[in-house]
Amino acid sequence: MQHYSDEEILTLFRSEESRNMALHHLIQKYQQKLYWHIRKIVISHDDTDDVLQNTFIKVWKGLNNFKEESQLYTWLYRIATNESLTFLKQKARANTTSIHPIEYQLSKSLESDTFFSGDEIQLKLQNAILTLPEKQRLVFNMRYYDEMPYEQMSEVLETSVGALKASYHIAAKKIEDFLINR
């Protein structure tokens, strides 16, 4: 399917008559990218579905105030990332019965997830990623899976390129250790 460019989507959005069309094209263009980005953070499909919907609602409500100082793509990624992290924090707060940290719970849910098709080594890799601190986990997923350039990542996470490179290096090293030693 031929996707509209970001400029075209924004132009459609500015006109009241074509606003619904803009929403349609925005969702069509970004739903998959954002879904997989969110999925790697919140792990469960149902949770991802909720966060994805909330992300698009937030995007739609905030699109009027989008200043075009950054790219639409990075803006969407930033909102999706923030929504996912907020969701995880809320989940951790709501789950007062468990003494384990949220990462452990995510790792456990991964093992029983019917929407996870990875083999043993893939499961081990995901578990290794889940041992990382939040920021390193984000950086690793965005670089390793999404293959996002550091410059773009820097806009999304509002962190310097140097710090991101260092984070990725540390994260990859930790994952290597996990895969070899455990």
């Binding site: 997989w36 579905d49 919907q53 698009f56 609602i57 990875g118 890799l125 990859a172 290597e176 895969l179």
Partner: protein, 272 residues
């Protein structure tokens, strides 16, 4: 098997007719899956060559030339081969346009980036040799239905905000209303405070004794009173009683003189 597959190009693995979207060109089924491998191979070749700088410096152009019409001769042979299939002969061979320079540029950029990523990952041998696959899956029709769910949710939330109650609430608690109320409150308070600090008329009060202490202190023109006026306003007898304990003289005249001589305005104020 459809018509085209029966009669055309089925020996060519790169020309599949599986794509039914009006475009007769397809891709090998594993094109994208093997793309990364190709890049890695290219990278490996480059690294191999890096050890031989001289060889690397030589452009990899073909120095061999073909006899004129070599390929058109082939084409004739090809047509001969096709003669038993008249229907196939009627299909016009696709003419490929030259690739757009922008596309070539983007492709180069993309390849360079892939190489950079692979290079980066090389330092982590386990990760490098791991298949980079997405282990997460979704239901088959998820992406076909999720858009409508999102739109539904957006429209329903939008409808809620245009209800009368929300409009009124938005008006009452809206930014503009809040700003207007704040301005009114500030102006009102300022007027009230200004009125309350207005000097009280002294015509009804001939002595300081009839004034409340607070009123005297708050009175803005108090400091403007001269000593004589202040002395006139003070009830000497009351003051005398208050000073009795500290002063030994009992004579009221002496007392009065003493006060006039020794007590200054500040002390009087303090006593008051």
């Amino acid at each position: 098997m459809n018509y085209n597959e029966e009669h055309n190009f089925d020996s060519d693995p790169n020309f599949s007719f599986e794509n039914k979207g009006g475009n007769p060109f397809g891709l090998p089924s594993d094109y994208f899956a093997s793309f990364e491998e190709k890049v890695k191979l290219k990278l490996e070749l480059e690294n191999e060559l890096a050890e031989f700088p001289l060889l690397k410096g030589i452009p990899k152009d073909s120095v061999f030339k073909l006899p004129v019409n070599y390929f058109s001769q082939n084409s004739i042979e090809y047509r001969t081969e096709l003669s038993p299939y008249p229907k196939l002969q009627t299909i016009k061979k696709p003419v490929f346009d030259e690739l757009e320079p922008e596309y070539v540029h983007l492709l180069n950029q993309s390849l360079d980036y892939k190489i950079e990523l692979a290079d980066e990952l090389k330092s982590y041998q386990t990760l490098y040799h791991l298949d980079k696959i997405n282990p997460f899956v979704v239901t088959e029709d998820y992406f076909e239905t999720v858009a409508s769910h999102i739109k539904e949710k957006i429209y329903s939330s939008h409808k809620q905000t245009v209800s009368i109650f929300d409009t009124i609430t938005e008006f009452i608690f809206g930014k503009k209303t809040a700003f207007a109320f704040t301005v009114i409150a500030i102006v009102g308070l300022s007027i009230y405070l200004y009125q309350s600090t207005k000097p009280l008329p002294l015509s009804h009060c001939e002595t300081l004794a009839c004034l409340e202490k607070q009123e005297i202190v708050n009175h803005s023109s108090f400091s403007n009173l001269d000593d004589d006026r202040l002395m006139e306003m003070v009830n000497i007898k009351t003051l005398n009683k208050q000073l009795q304990s500290t002063l030994s003289q009992s004579d009221s005249t002496q007392h009065e003189e003493y006060i006039l001589d020794n007590v200054n305005t500040d002390q009087l104020l303090e006593e008051l």
